[in-house]
């Protein structure tokens, strides 16, 4: 049952899924004629081509041999989680806390990062950013704030 987790085949399946979703989303757009193309015409052609590519890729995947896909959930969670936390904290708490939280969260994905280096980064980076953005480019983000 794991055959569909092979990179080539999964890639093809993903493309088919994307093209289907897109086709569904644009289903109401008027196509128009070639002479007077409506907003839906070009996207429709593209989703069609994408679907064909997806099918072709699945065929290629079945004919050939590729490895099983490798997906590191830990790294993904660490990095994406850190970005999400940044988005949630930047306006509420200012950039110093946001940056620190981001740095800490990213380091969860990397087991080789020492605590001391991390702390150093938490101090150096916000200072650097303050200098670069606030003073250098005049950007208006608050270092510390409290707006829940």
């Amino acid at each position: 049952m794991r055959w569909f987790l092979k990179t080539d085949i999964l890639a093809g399946l993903l493309l088919i899924v994307i093209s289907t979703l897109a086709a569904f989303e644009i289903r109401d757009l008027p196509l128009g004629t070639f002479r007077q193309m409506g907003p839906g015409m070009f996207p429709a052609i593209i989703t069609g081509i994408l679907g064909v590519f997806g099918l072709g890729q699945v065929v290629i995947g079945c004919l050939g041999h590729s490895r099983l896909v490798h997906f590191s959930l830990r790294k993904v969670a660490a990095v994406l989680g850190s970005i999400a936390l940044f988005a949630l904290t930047i306006t509420r708490f200012g950039f110093v806390p946001a940056v620190s939280i981001t740095l800490l969260t990213v380091s969860f994905g990397d087991t080789t990062m020492g605590a001391r280096k991390l702390l150093l980064l938490c101090i150096v980076l916000p200072a650097l950013i303050y200098g670069l953005f606030f003073l250098g480019l005049g950007l208006q983000i608050k270092p510390f704030t409290w707006r829940l």
Binding site: L63, V79, A87, T111
Partner: protein, 502 residues
């Protein structure tokens, strides 16, 4: 001559303190990025993009371009010293650069690399100066059908050269085009694929998209323990770095040949520094009366590819500036930068924004000169930098990405865009779908649609218009040829891997 006059005006502007400063910043950052393997120019340019936002368009372009060709210089240092290419276009440099360094001629190798890079760059710039206006002139007689055909060729060619299967490259391009359709339709104002989000009315932002699919996904894949053995970097005196007369006599012809090859491939859509470097090496080996020296520290094997990739760096700008059609994903980013600053590249730009174009071209030469001068005394610094563990860099990169994307529009929405495309980029990479062509499709897609619609409007709905015009017909035939070749080699490769497994 008008050309030289324009160049002089451009040089004037390029030498202004502000532009000089940012040129310097650009090439330094570029070298840094090039020296550190794992972070490529595409990632660096995407991340540093927002910082150029508040700058004057000319200055912004000068800096971004500096990063672009600076990385090639820096990448060669890593190739020679570590046998690890700093950027893909320096992969060939390892072949003869590393052995030469190993045999005790580290300094000479680095000096030769710097010299050939500079020569290649200069020749590329000369060609840029002479040909960009000529091509722009010719392009003024292009019809929408021709433009569409040319863009299509560029996309197909770019995906055929990209890493991995060309078929997936094409799929990536198509995906990129689809992403490009998001937003309000230009002609009718109808929302397309916007999922009820008004922030998407102008489409997905180029900067958050690029930062996500390149920067974030790169960090996710590369994060974790990495081992790099630097060996023992010795101090190098200036005398030990000087190449001998024999070295130079062996080097100058390969440099000329390499530069020509690089200039040619740089101009073509889809090919660039990487292909040029490989070709130049192959040509030198083929032409040499003593090919067995290659791979052991042959001067020709070192200088030709380096001259070639730097020449290609420069001439890559020709289609972007003169035609408004980027030949590679990085050029697409550059073009995106121009558009965001309100300038539309193309034949009109060459005549209307003369100052910007020529200042940019002049800055290339200034930047190349800076790199030549900086390369030599700073070698020790680069070597030190190579010892910084990359895992310190990655969290910092994420922070820069977050701040950068927030900075551009002060909207949290863009940060979420980065997040989503970071996930998407990582997923695509793991599935072997190359993300660089996707960016090209994203940038070119809307332009292609516009040209297609225009062509249809002018021809009153006749699809045959593409066959009517000789330019578009020949381009389309070429494109079809490449497509068939891609399909054929895709199936053949699949068969082969199957066969080798049984």
């Amino acid at each position: 001559m008008e050309l030289l006059q324009n160049f002089a005006i451009g040089l004037d502007i390029a030498l202004e303190p502000v532009n000089l400063f940012y040129c310097f910043v650009g090439v330094m950052v570029g070298m840094l990025v090039g020296v550190i393997p794992g972070i490529g120019p595409l990632t660096a340019i995407s991340i540093l993009f927002p910082f150029t936002f508040y700058l004057d368009p000319t200055t912004a372009l000068i800096m971004l371009a500096g990063i672009w060709y600076g990385t090639t210089y820096g990448g060669s240092v890593a190739s020679v010293l570590l046998n690890v290419p700093g950027t893909a276009s320096n992969a060939v440099t390892c072949l003869d650069g590393y052995p030469m360094a190993q045999s005790g001629r580290q300094g000479v190798a680095l000096m030769l690399v710097a010299l050939s890079s500079f020569s290649g760059g200069t020749i590329g710039i000369l060609l840029l100066i002479f040909f960009a206006p000529v091509i722009a002139d010719a392009a003024l007689s292009f019809a929408p059908a021709d433009y569409f055909a040319l863009m299509l060729l560029g996309l197909v060619a770019a995906s055929s050269i990209s890493e991995g299967s060309a078929f997936k490259g094409l799929a990536a391009v198509t995906l990129g085009i689809l992403l490009g359709t998001v937003g309000l339709d230009i002609y009718t104002g109808t929302p397309r694929l916007m999922f009820e989000r008004p922030e998407l009315s102008e489409g997905i932002g180029l900067i958050p998209l690029a930062m996500g699919i390149f920067g974030v996904s790169e960090v996710i894949s590369s994060m974790g323990p990495s081992s790099r053995n630097l060996g023992n970097p010795k101090r190098m005196s200036l005398r030990s770095m000087l190449p001998t007369r024999k070295d130079l006599s062996l080097a100058w012809l390969p440099i000329l040949r390499g530069s020509s090859i690089g200039s040619f491939f740089g101009t073509l859509p889809g090919t660039g520094p990487i292909v040029s470097a490989f070709m130049a090496y192959a040509v030198e080996k083929r032409l040499s009366p003593t090919p067995e020296r290659f791979g052991k520290g042959a001067v020709e094997g070192l200088t030709a590819p380096e001259a070639s990739n730097n020449a290609a760096d420069m001439t890559s700008f020709i289609p972007t500036l003169a035609l408004g059609i980027p030949g590679s994903p990085t050029m697409a980013l550059m073009m995106g930068a121009l558009i965001i600053h309100g300038i539309t590249p193309g034949p009109e730009m060459m005549t209307k924004e003369v100052d910007l174009v020529w200042a940019l071209i002049a800055s290339f030469w200034v930047g190349n000169l800076m790199l030549l001068v900086l390369n030599i005394p700073l070698v020790g610094v680069w070597v030190k930098i190579l010892t910084i563990p990359t895992n310190l860099l990655f969290p910092a990169i994420i922070v820069f990405i977050c701040i950068g994307s927030y900075m551009v529009s002060s909207s949290i929405f863009d940060i979420w865009v980065v997040l989503i495309f970071g996930l998407a980029g990582y997923g695509l990479r793991q599935l072997g779908i190359p993300v660089a062509p996707m960016l090209l499709g994203f940038v070119l897609g809307p332009m292609m649609e516009e040209q297609f619609r225009r062509a249809m409007l002018l021809s009153r709905g006749r699809l045959e218009v593409f066959a009517d015009r000789p330019i578009s017909l020949s381009i389309l035939l070429l494109t079809a040829g490449i497509l068939m070749w891609i399909a054929y080699s895709g199936f053949r490769r699949a068969r082969k891997t199957r066969a080798s497994m049984t």
